[in-house]
């Protein structure tokens, strides 16, 4: 336990946020304009639409040591390009269920929908996600060498 809390203080938490240009990026802007207090862990990458999200971007972020990945876009039925987030929703849900199978903590990845006017909701989302990641601590990443591994026998 003590080692875990030590590790927490070793470096600051970094969360990668992929935000859709039309809704969530605007929502984050609204939150800023309204001067809502927000955690500073989030590094925002602006994307044209959540339909642009390749699940591999999320996987790559986690493998390369991002402590959390947050994807946020327009609410379903409100996509600027009509259907982008419908595609994204399926892909991200498959990924979310798949991550624990490979040994990743699925709590490190979250997807959500926030519109441009929802500054307050954005504040809640980002505060809540940041708290979750702080609770999990820094992402240890992959082991570069494996000394002993559990055996699995299927047949």
């Amino acid at each position: 336990m003590s080692s875990k809390s030590d590790a927490k203080q070793e470096r600051e938490i970094k969360i990668v946020g992929f935000l859709c240009n039309w809704c969530s990026y605007g929502g984050a802007d609204t939150a800023g304009v309204c001067r809502f207090r927000q955690p500073t862990d989030l590094r925002i990458i602006r994307i044209p639409c959540t339909g642009r999200i390749d699940p591999l971007m999320i996987v790559k972020s986690l493998i390369q040591g991002a402590d959390g990945v947050l994807v946020s876009g327009c609410h379903p039925n409100d996509c600027h390009y009509a259907v982008g987030n419908f595609y994204a929703r399926r892909r991200m849900e498959v990924l979310k269920r798949f991550l624990p199978y490979m040994g990743f903590q699925s709590d490190r990845f979250r997807y959500t929908w926030v519109s441009a006017s929802e500054g307050q909701i954005w504040q809640q989302v980002v505060t809540d996600f940041s708290e979750t990641i702080h609770r999990l601590g820094p992402n240890p990443g992959l082991h570069q060498t494996v000394d002993s591994a559990p055996a699995v026998s299927w047949f």
Binding site: L56, F86, R90, V94, Y101, M102, L142, H143, A149, V152
Partner: protein, 323 residues
């Protein structure tokens, strides 16, 4: 000469004038292997074989080595031999318009399981000198320089075959041999996936790291996969975008397999070719089997069954909620 091979040759002889070529198997360089074979002339037909060593999935040649979309000038078709699992890959290729159904003549071969050369070598006393391999009923008889070994067929067949749910081709123009009873029900849980899931989260990571650490990125799994159709545009090798570096470390190995698995999400038909060709014995197909299980649970979809269906990650439904 077994009955299945004879029946296949007889059938191909009867229809060969209507076919441009037939994709089949011929005996390989040792008794443990067959190899893919293009039957181009009448005299080639007598080299065709079909038995429990016919493990290659021939549908990949349709997508990667020839044009199986546009009809031939003389209207002749491409004949292709498929087992149950191969037929699902063929359906997936038809769905994605890499193969046109009218262009191929599908010769279906119900399959009781294909042998795994690696498992056989582990079972016999003198694996370097195997003279013959024969399936007799539920027994496998292997003759080596040190005598004859007999063991249950189930100990020597591939992992994917032990959990086979589609031993009979889902599409075919002709069926050679009698249909086989599937080993598992269609909605049965995948036993190998369940075995991995029984581990704790930390152990699962260690398990996969231990497996993937052996990867030498030879790309055999990608090349053997009938549905890895990007060829020169594959993002493993492109420098722009650069997803993978040439550093030899765990991050790159892990990323490579995640790319392969996620590009096959909702498309993989579990033919097990990636796993069979892996030179270092990584259970590559096991990653994709989990994604298939997720998609079956979430969207009630199985790849390679209905030629008219659209793979679920290439479409959407506005009505679905809660995901």
């Amino acid at each position: 000469m077994d009955d299945k091979t004879n029946a296949l040759r007889e059938h191909v002889k009867g229809i060969f004038s209507n076919l441009e070529l037939v994709l089949g198997w011929e005996p390989g360089y040792d008794p443990l292997h067959t190899r893919p074979f293009y039957v181009r002339t009448e005299s080639d037909i007598d080299r065709l074989t079909a038995n429990c060593l016919s493990f290659q999935n021939l549908t990949r040649y349709l997508a990667k080595s020839m044009n199986a979309v546009d009809p031939a000038a003389d209207g002749r078709k491409i004949g292709v031999c498929v087992k149950g699992c191969d037929s699902r890959s063929l359906v997936a290729l038809i769905q994605e318009k890499f193969v046109s159904r009218d262009r191929v003549y599908v010769i279906g071969l119900p399959c009781r399981g294909t042998l795994d050369a690696r498992r056989i070598r582990a079972l016999v006393p003198d694996p370097a000198r195997i003279r013959s391999v024969n399936a007799e009923g539920d027994e496998l008889v292997v003759e080596t320089d040190r005598g004859i070994s007999r063991f249950a067929l189930d100990r020597a067949i591939a992992r994917k075959c032990l959990q086979c749910r589609y031993p009979n081709p889902v599409i075919h123009d002709v069926l050679i041999g009698d249909p086989v009873t599937p080993r598992l029900k269609i909605d049965a849980e995948n036993p190998s996936v369940a075995a991995v899931e029984a581990l704790s989260l930390e152990d699962r990571l260690l398990f996969w790291e231990n497996q993937l650490d052996r990867c030498i990125r030879c790309f055999a799994c990608r090349n053997a996969c009938p549905l890895c159709v990007c060829q020169n545009h594959c993002i493993m090798e492109t420098r722009m975008p650069k997803w993978i570096t040439q550093y030899r470390n765990m991050n790159e190995k892990f990323m490579f397999h995640m790319i392969h698995a996620l590009h096959l999400a909702g498309r993989c038909t579990e033919c097990g070719e990636c796993e069979r060709v892996c030179p270092v014995g990584i259970p590559v197909a096991l990653i994709k089997e989990k994604i298939n299980a997720i998609i079956y649970e979430m969207l009630d979809y199985e790849s390679g069954i209905d030629p008219e269906a659209v793979p679920p990650l290439l479409t959407f439904s506005p009505k679905e909620t809660g995901i």
